[in-house]
Amino acid sequence: MSTTGTPLTKKDFKSDQDVRWCPGCGDYSILNAVQTAFAELGKKPHEVAIVSGIGCSSRFPYYMETYGFHTLHGRAPTIATGLKLANPDLDVWVVTGDGDALSIGGNHLIHVLRRNVGLKILLFNNRIYGLTKGQFSPTSERGKKTKSTPMGSVDEPFSPIGLALGANATFVARSVDIFAQHLVAMVKRMDAHRGTSLLEIYQNCNIFNDGAYKSFTDKELRDDRVVELHQGKPLLFGKNLDKGLSFDADLRPRIVEKADAATWDEHRANPAYATALAHADEASLPVPIGVFRDVARSPFESDLRNQLAVAGERKTESLDELLLGNETWTVGS
């Protein structure tokens, strides 16, 4: 709770509440990474507010020594929008789950993205409903057997990044709970963006969807199964960065020689390339992590605030003048 003096550390972002996730849950690593990043960014606890929805992930604010609001299932983006409008200088983060953000809250999510409200959204994607004990979510793979789909789900999943790009998001990135350094770096990148930044974090729910990302996050597989996006750099992967990723004529990503690797540009105005990667097949291609898109557009809250300023310059009017309006008459005593 210290608010002055010496540089803050990770510990200064820990609240006094017991953390109540299942032992082994990926949420712990994310909490750790965010606290680390916040400390390294030199944030002050009282300048940050974290707004969440409902879900295991949405318990996050309780564990952070910042301002926090644990709201309603799916509605965090709306409340965070109001908060940001109220106080554009406040550093507002949103924590949400795949169910919270993409099932019940899908509409609010795409609307903040299109508006480019200055919110930083951490989307914990465990491809399952954790808190309600294991139903499939809008990011669960087809055929997923869960309590609510004993014969397997028949829903095609969303690509959260693809959806965000479709909604005209200005900053979209992806990381993984256990890639601590990468995750910290991504949190810092989000922080630097003006407008909405969305970070999809692959998160393991070891109780209801254990190993969801094992096939590409396991230590031994990682190098061959993950490709990191770096601005202006070729798309390389493999232990010695000896393989490349490129796009065919239909813009389908495909594995190529190192030399033929496409160069990544996160600043492209048109989201088509990022879309191509977002919808790439996870099973057969390396999974991209890093920044998919980062383009500039003025944040909603500053445009709105600007209008107030302009209006204020154009017209001054006392409360009395306002109440009286243009047409009055007087009744004498």
């Binding site: 009282h46 309780y62 609001f69 109001g82 908060l83 109220a86 106080n87 306002l322």
Partner: protein
Amino acid sequence: MTETRTQTQFEEVDQIVVRFAGDSGDGMQLTGDQLTRTTALMGNDLATFPDFPAEIRAPAGTLPGVSAFQLRFSNFDIHTPGDAPDVLVAMNPAALKVHVSSLRRDGTLIVDTTSFGPVDLKKAKYDKNPLEDGSLDGYRVIKLELQRLTREALASTTLDTRSKDRCKNIYALGIVSWLFHRDLKPTIQFLRGKFASKPEIAEANVKALEAGHLFAEVSGLFQAAYRVAPATFMKPGTYRNVMGNQALCLGLVAAAKKSGLRLVLGSYPITPASDILHQLATYKHHGILTFQAEDEIAAIGAAIGASYGGLLGVTSTSGPGLALKSEAIGLAVMTELPLVVIDVQRAGPSTGMPTKTEQADLLQAMFGRNGECPVPIVVARTPADSFGAAFDAVRIALRYMTPVILLSDGYIANGSEPWCVPTASSLPEIAVKFAAAGDGTARFRPYERDPVTLARVWARPGTPGCTHRIGGIEKEDGSGNISYDAQNHQHMVDLRAEKVARIANDIADAEVIGHPSPDVLFLCWGGTTGAITAAALRLSKAGHSIGAVCLRWVNPFPKNLEAILRASKRVIVPELNLGQLAMLIRSRFLVDAQPFTKVQGQPFTSHEVEEAGLAALAALRGQEVSR
């Protein structure tokens, strides 16, 4: 013919009720608005009732496309736009069909005969031509070919015929202005302003107005013009005319200024609440922030977020939108944040009849949330009263750290009346205190309370040393930590109820209108106030032991209400629903309050209410005799 001008007979009357009815494309609302403005400026008391069609523009000439505007003005204190108009202006057969039956027997019917061909009659579902079949015999019918008259008046202009025809309503306004001795200047000024960029059109309209006026005078069609002296009963002060939604917005802004807080409106358009969003959007120079959200839930979410951020969050909607906001209102109750939720009621259920009025959301406002989730409810009673209701809503929300639901309805929202404008300095200050910055030594406790109001402390995010977490899960009093403790839950449920109950300490006592200790008491709330006040005043003046209480707060009830109810022998609750307030009163006080209801999308007429009062009185006397 000029000499006739000077011979104009003026009949002095104390009030006039006039209704314009025509196609939604005919500009009836604009015509009515102008007549209202002028009348306000001439110092009469007045009340208006615009009646919109459901469609933007139903096919011309059809019954669903009819749009109407009623104005009543007087030299005495009036409370409703009147039951039956003295004068009806019907611009086509459909308008005639829909409205003629409400015209006063022997009333004046001005009818535009331009389109009474077979096709027009069929569109209006007339089998025979009503102008010819004797069905209008009881009325003083004045048939005018308005289209021809207007075209003739504008013959010298360069306008095309269609544009000329569009001035028809203004021609009619000219006629009516003569008939009621209304000043033309305000309308001329308005027309020149409105069509500033099209001076040709402006002048054509002015010409039509003046031509109509002249025609009325010289044609000799009218036996006399009427004059209503300015109202004299009015308390001294500066007046303006306001519509309900407008007054409500002014109340919000005034309260925000008096509290020193910026106001953030989160809203999603819906009839008849949209004008609140529109109006507040024009107050940006007062620091008012409006946000048109993607839906009603996002709208209230943004308002809650703004309140959490230390501003004044407000959200406005109508019944179906309130239904959607119910879950979020619960969050505001649990997190004890100030918030004003405005419901401008319309006829339901479901989509219902969006352009018609009703008062059937009271129980939804009281109970439409999961769990024990008490919310104070304040109601707007008349167009001008919306100002005070909104001001009060803000005052209580901030003082008690609670969401407040403000109920208005389509009838008051769009109706208008003169309003004695208060000076800013006469309005009470609204004290707001935020938690002060801490030095980090003591943990901030967001659920510490004011012992009097039980309001919790409000800390603005960004304040050093006050970091804290809130949410919708039950929390420990004081610390605000999550708690599943059984006793704490009971405590918090009781406490939230008690907090709302204590608001009774902060609201005005109920006032009895009419007979001071009546045998028959009307108890009403909201938009029926005008009709009930009028009825109670008239009946008590006529010597009947009848009075009325028109509630400003429905939850909690004013402290003196119980005594008033018990003192009267019969309580009648007139409502535009199936008896919602009656049900609250009955269960709370175990008093045999009788609902008197109407669910027709229309307000009560004073007449209906008077009859109900007299019937109740008669029944009571009968009982007393037979006892």
